[in-house]
Symmetry: C2
Subunit: 713 residues, 2 copies
Amino acid sequence: MTGKPDIKYLFEPRTVAVIGASHNPEKIGYKIVENILACGYGGNVYPINPEGGEILGISAYKSVADVKEDIDVAVITIPAKSVYEAVRSCADKGVKFSLVISSGFSEIGDVESEKKIVSYAREHGMRIIGPNIFGMYGAKASFNATFGTRDVLPGDVAIITQSGALGISLMGRTAVDKLGLSSMFSLGNKSDIDESDLLEYLIDDPETKIIMMYIEGIKQGERLVSLLRKAAKKKPVIVIKAGRSRRGAIAAASHTGALAGADNVFSDIMKQCGVIRAESIQEALDWCKYISETRQPNGENTVILTNGGGMGVMAADACEKYSVNLFDDQETLKKIFAPVVPAFGSMKNPVDLTGQATLENYKTAIEAALQNKDIHSIICLGCETAFFDAGKISEMIKKTYLEARPDKPVVFSFFGGARIEECIKELKDANIPAFSDVYESVSCMGALYASYRNTKYAVESTDPQKIKIDDKAIESVIKKALDDGRQFLMPYEGEAVMAAAGIRVPRNYIAATIEDAVKCAEKIGYPVVLKIVSRDIIHKSDAGGVIVNLENENELMDAYQAIMFNAKKYKPDAHIEGVQVSEMLAKLTKDAEVIAGAIRDKSFGPVVMYGLGGIYVEVMNDVSFRSYPMAKQEILDMINETRSSKLLAGVRGSSRKDVSAVIDTLAKLGTILVRHDDITDIEVNPLVVYDENKGALALDVRILLAKSKEVKK
Amino acid sequence: MTGKPDIKYLFEPRTVAVIGASHNPEKIGYKIVENILACGYGGNVYPINPEGGEILGISAYKSVADVKEDIDVAVITIPAKSVYEAVRSCADKGVKFSLVISSGFSEIGDVESEKKIVSYAREHGMRIIGPNIFGMYGAKASFNATFGTRDVLPGDVAIITQSGALGISLMGRTAVDKLGLSSMFSLGNKSDIDESDLLEYLIDDPETKIIMMYIEGIKQGERLVSLLRKAAKKKPVIVIKAGRSRRGAIAAASHTGALAGADNVFSDIMKQCGVIRAESIQEALDWCKYISETRQPNGENTVILTNGGGMGVMAADACEKYSVNLFDDQETLKKIFAPVVPAFGSMKNPVDLTGQATLENYKTAIEAALQNKDIHSIICLGCETAFFDAGKISEMIKKTYLEARPDKPVVFSFFGGARIEECIKELKDANIPAFSDVYESVSCMGALYASYRNTKYAVESTDPQKIKIDDKAIESVIKKALDDGRQFLMPYEGEAVMAAAGIRVPRNYIAATIEDAVKCAEKIGYPVVLKIVSRDIIHKSDAGGVIVNLENENELMDAYQAIMFNAKKYKPDAHIEGVQVSEMLAKLTKDAEVIAGAIRDKSFGPVVMYGLGGIYVEVMNDVSFRSYPMAKQEILDMINETRSSKLLAGVRGSSRKDVSAVIDTLAKLGTILVRHDDITDIEVNPLVVYDENKGALALDVRILLAKSKEVKK
């Protein structure tokens, strides 16, 4: 395999060949050449058509081999069956990137042809985007090699989309919304180049201020996660992933062939990466446009101005939904707004200028808010009333807003009839963020703050190689199980793995005689629990085979004899192997029972899980996920994200629990997975968490292994 | 007090007086007369102005007393200080309804003036709407007595709004959205007429097909609930209530002076009533328009048609969010769509016509879906592609859809550039439900199905008077506590109340002697628990003062002696009152612990609560509420609405619990509240629920009483 070409030439190609350039204006091979030319591409364009001739005034070559110049990008738009030959000729010619528009590969089940193409390309140092894509756009080279809209605007938003049909209509939509793009890529089947490859470039691309991605399924998730984390620290990254619902996830999987993965895993990991997730495409576009045109705020004091109490309340609801923080300093609010708000209005936030507020009142209030340094952002609402002259709003706002060129984020939301509609349109045309729906405007503000917070708080992952666990001990446990042909560990093996990682488990020993039992109890320390060990006695308690809270040697010996007596009475012919002597756990109702786990996710690799434990795991589904490795702070975030995290903080007067022991346990579980490929699942349920500084105890451990060496991630 | 006027004359007034009619076109008193005349009101209009003269070509009277004719409605729009006099003159004249537009009453703290007005009006048989409103609209009389838009369209949607500024802009918005109204009312301070009064009329109003309400706070909730239940059985009722968030609720309370109430109580009770709750005003308007123009479906088999897999997945997500059921019969789907879907498309639902689908393909698919009886509704999506000609969509849809005049609900959602925008506009203009956002279209379908389900399933409340509880016993417990000056019941009193209602509580007796103890145990039935009773021994277990699981008289007597011995050893000078003999509770971890409660809600009166019990109540907040009385089926619904309801169904192989005992307990708690005004709160936590047919046990009961007779609701 020769070296990979510089991906810069994909974003800014100097020359392009169109394999399958057509004379027929109805064909995609014609439309692509047409778009390239119409959008002002400055490089040389080589239409390739076996018939030769002229296409749109340019001489067509019969073969790409005939082109003298080096080719940066070849666009391939011919039937699937001929694509391999075309790819060969491009690769042989030394083309750097091939965009395979043609469909009819893995998306309809033909994985082999796709593999063949990629493997030839890779061997010859060419990279493939697609197949099954609609092309790409790069603003710097004015390069629109798509069959989408020609009206695409250059700008600072990069879009990567997995879906073709949706992507091409999305491109059209950006033009309508006047959202300028730095680049746009359709990924299709992701046979070679995927979102990670493009993301890597976009992180440092000075042309790109915001990255928006439409995702259906993820492969190579670990690399993507590390790149997303890096990207989101530098610029806002907005993601839309369809398949939130169970039903949706099934549809997504059948459509892309990629495993969509459990949506809550995806959702939590995006949060971890600092990526903002939009529900709908329009929401994502609104966010891109707003963030692209707005300066970052200087703080989190947001003020709502309104002339309708009801609209103010709805905005306050929306602020909670989208995590926008309302400014609450009554004194300051009073100082700022007392001169503006009538007696029966409200100077609390939302600031209610009352239904009698005129445009002049609004102007004064907006200016007061813009000028005050304690206010960092403004949500300005207006209902159309007899006093609030819809015909003149846009003029006033334009003057106030544009003249002030505010260094703080503002959104406007006006509600009313035809004149309000017109006013919103006028404001939008002047690039002023105005919406009719309160939720839409606040959602934009929320996205801005989400990206603001993310750039503020940086976290560095702890290196899992630095966490001390006894790998050799773990390997030997695994080996034994694999040698037995098992894909799971026995409970005592699971406990051994925990012990090797320094996670506390209940201590217990098997004793065959009464003297043995006494020795074991001394090793453990009183009080202890004694249980009969016999394969013939399943219901130990029913047989009188369990005695708890034995506090000294005398009690232990009495109990031993009692258990033996009971067992014989219960089942005279039972084969009795001995007794189990266990640590007497001070498991009190005040201790928290949580679940801690680590799984090898098909999309994201090692993923750590935390949540409410016991039977409530299934019932309440109160769990959170994170990609591992990660920083301690992130583990704390994931714990705090669960509703039940209050249990650790201490509820109903019960004391604080040892959160750091939970963090430690989760880090160790993740580390075990990272360092032992054979393990696919670890579930500790419950992990009993004691009071602060008292640690935690893995009461029940289940560990699963990969089917065989081949199956591993 | 004379009789109330027939509210019909509010909705269809035959004559109107405008008190404060003005010569100045800037004044509201001018605008209202102008609107009444401009909108084609057919009755007589009497402008009242002390200066007389002509207003808009009509002679003004100096006083309402001067008008010869009877007046159905007087619109009062003069400064607050003169309103009382105007109301007096109207009432004296025999006016039926006064709309008090003027503000400056309870909303700014002047409760007294408002009370004075209402009390005078009531004494003279006149009713008041307002004060602090923007007026009303009634389509039947073409009566637009507002200072809002004149473009309001007559139709079949009735709107009731509590907010003034929002309401008037909402009125303007209906005109833009071409949503026809049967009537619209602004309620303002609700000093007299409130939403219930209007609702009562609207339930049987043949002009009204849909009722939409904007609510901020509720008074007289019990009446409203019973009317909403009735209304929602007959026609869709759509509610928007701002104040979902804690912050929003605070803002709402400060703004209206009405208690917003806990939002989850409101939300759950609306569900109970069959009312559909919208998040934003625009959503509510979209729902109204869609439901108003669409026939009810014949079943719940919905099919998604798409040319973009991604858009299909998003629609499937949205279907889950808005409870739209996707048709899943693969055989039937295949039969219908095999002729339409290309090989690499999907005949599963979402049906993927692929990115290469042409308008002709769409037409065939839509027609196939429209004609098939197994499909009850259609969500048709389209991404703008090279094949999907945006310029011709609206023409095709109009033809296909309007010609078919389908008897099944359809929504369209198209995504793309400028031509798609235009197409959506054209379709909307033709009253075809088309949206660019997938979530918006599916949300409309969801609202339609919500109202469809509600009319299908009727439930009749159980009469709380028919539930057997021992009221006398309860009253005597309450009386004792009140006589003691307490606002709470002691634990044993709470247990007595439960027992009087036939709710099982742990049985226990105090015994002073060993003979007593034996008698008590016989009353309870073995096994029993024995506990020392001594004010000097707090930690009974530490003192060896608790012995459990006593199975017969011998064991009991041994235990009695052991306890006495232990107690004396533990604290030789302790004063020992005797022992408590208690039922031995088989409280196993497999029993479910739930919380059952009943509270007297400030907005809604008796409200019953159910949820996950124990410490998890606070942590998980997994509770549901219902207004009481209600039907058994509704109690079951409220149980099933909690995430933890799975506990009762049996999780992890544990058996089904006695759900009917929970239903019975909740009904009894509600009944206690309905029949005993002094009780404000009952909380049973935990209510231990045993296996099926084994009942439930109120392990811990807390009951609170009202402060004094005056405070009671």
